[in-house]
Symmetry: C2
Subunit: 316 residues, 2 copies
């Protein structure tokens, strides 16, 4: 599982956290698993993806039993609860996001403006990344069901092509009208006023509202600001890390150079750049709170990080 | 040749213009070529790439003989003159650009600031795109020769990967220190203050300073402005179209969806997106003059479009 998380075969912050607890629940069920082995495996898994706070939160919950009192059935039950909770959280995020876009964008338009609600998204945040309908894609899916009047612009999301491979496929399966584009084409779309809003998922949200997400997100936020396009981030409360004061504390992984020198996956493997070319390959980037129009969480839409912390602080 | 230009096997605005006149010079040398055939072939070639003004200017020059007085040797001579002129123009651009970056960036630094001069570029604008040292890459090459203290960030330039395939290779051949990145990582580099300047080539510059270039250029210009990074465009006077008032008059080609659904070239061919996914694939975008710090031409560096037009207007 650690290898699968590192290679991004299991990906998406919620799904990583879910896969980890499922694997641990299974490990705990094996008669040969001692508590020491279990705790060691859990701590190793906890470190496999430094950006994803869900992983850490979920594993801390699974490890929250008293030392010497490991109960495999209690662990399995926690894992199932975490899984069901993720499904519910996704639907709540989808509902709040759909309410927001209908109220703030569709209902604000002239009656004779019949263009679809046009949303640009990055990476993959749907049923392939969560136990439920997803975060940003969950919102898009809910909007499509309620209005049948949505168009999604899908960033391909180099280097691992989660948009081109996964989101484009998922939009096709859900029969949601969509258009795939290379990451460097989003600016032109915005300039041509073809994007009503940008919505992305996240790997971790800091207390001040800064958040980490797939590389390319920060650039999109800057472009959205320049073109006065609203920019939203969506995620469950489990991605908010109240202990993390700001983006400066979020570590950014650098990944293998081979990812940027070519492309590989179930579709095949090609390399176009010279093998000796040095490469920059940060996996994530951080978007400062001042570029965010709103934070769409399961508990509601927050227009300031202070409002978000006020509500989340009570629930913790 | 038309097929090669359309498929981008021959690419780069100057190289397209050069290849076209060489082919026409060869055609004129064939005893069977009548003037009518020659003029028809020239006009077809003239339309093969609507963005590139060099192509149109060069062909107009080759066709500027009096009707009924086609002279194959005069045509060949014009083609050779155009070729030599491109080499000279490249070196003049390189010299002006190098002077500029040394004066405005390197000489403005603290004496104990030993970081290399860090330049980000997009697409490919070097010896593979011109008859000479190139435009943006020519400047980088000249700076490397003069200072040995340059570092180039190379945007991969999806979908056709001119940066990943060609510029990365060219930097390796020239032994210029460089780092390859995906297009969506440039914002993070700028935020981390790792880019001293952006320099790109261009397909056409309008009278008001707006210019067309490979898609992704406009987004870089917006990001550079947000991060207070100087943004320069480089090209020979032949890419300036004084008859074109502004970007609104520059046509933007849309290219085949297959380019975005995967990647193909001499390195192989893969497809990762569903065959039925609709695609947005503009080949170029337009950067408005107000995002440009300066225009680096063979005749000098211009800080305003008015200065550029004043000098170029005299030469026309």
């Amino acid at each position: 599982m650690i290898a699968m998380i590192k290679s991004l075969q299991v990906r998406g912050a919620p799904m990583i956290g879910l896969a980890a607890v499922m694997v641990l629940a299974h490990l705990a069920q094996q008669p040969s698993t001692t508590e020491a082995v279990f705790r060691e495996a859990a701590l190793k898994l906890r470190q496999s993806r430094p950006t994803a706070v869900n992983l850490m939160n979920n594993i801390d919950r699974i490890l929250s039993f008293e030392p010497g009192k490991m109960n495999p059935d209690w662990i399995l039950n926690q894992a199932i609860l975490i899984f069901r909770e993720d499904q519910e959280l996704c639907q709540q995020i989808a509902d709040h996001g759909a309410d927001l876009f209908i109220a703030d964008i569709l209902n604000e338009r002239d009656d004779n403006d019949l263009r679809p609600l046009s949303i640009l998204t990055h990476c993959n945040t749907g049923g392939l990344a969560t136990a439920g309908v997803g975060t940003a894609i969950g919102i898009i899916r809910e909007l499509h069901q309620r209005t049948s009047h949505v168009h999604v612009y899908v960033d391909e999301t180099r280097p691992l092509l989660q948009g081109g491979r996964l989101t484009a496929w998922e939009m096709g399966e859900l029969k949601i009208p969509h258009t795939l584009l290379c990451d460097n084409m989003a600016a032109l779309l915005m300039r041509d006023k073809k994007v009503d809003a940008v919505v992305v998922g996240c790997d971790r949200i800091a207390r001040n509202g800064d958040f980490a997400n797939k590389v390319g997100t920060y650039g999109l936020a800057v472009l959205a600001r320049h073109h006065s396009v609203p920019f939203y981030v969506a995620g469950p409360y489990t991605t908010v890390d109240l202990k993390c004061a700001s983006a400066a504390e979020i570590p950014i992984e650098e990944r293998a150079a081979t990812e940027v020198r070519g492309a590989s996956g179930s579709f095949g493997k090609v390399q176009w750049a010279p093998s000796e070319s040095p490469v920059y390959n940060p996996s994530f980037d951080v978007t400062p709170a001042d570029l965010v129009t709103g934070w769409i969480l399961d508990s509601g839409v927050f227009k300031t990080p202070e409002d978000m912390v006020k509500v989340l602080g009570q629930n913790v």
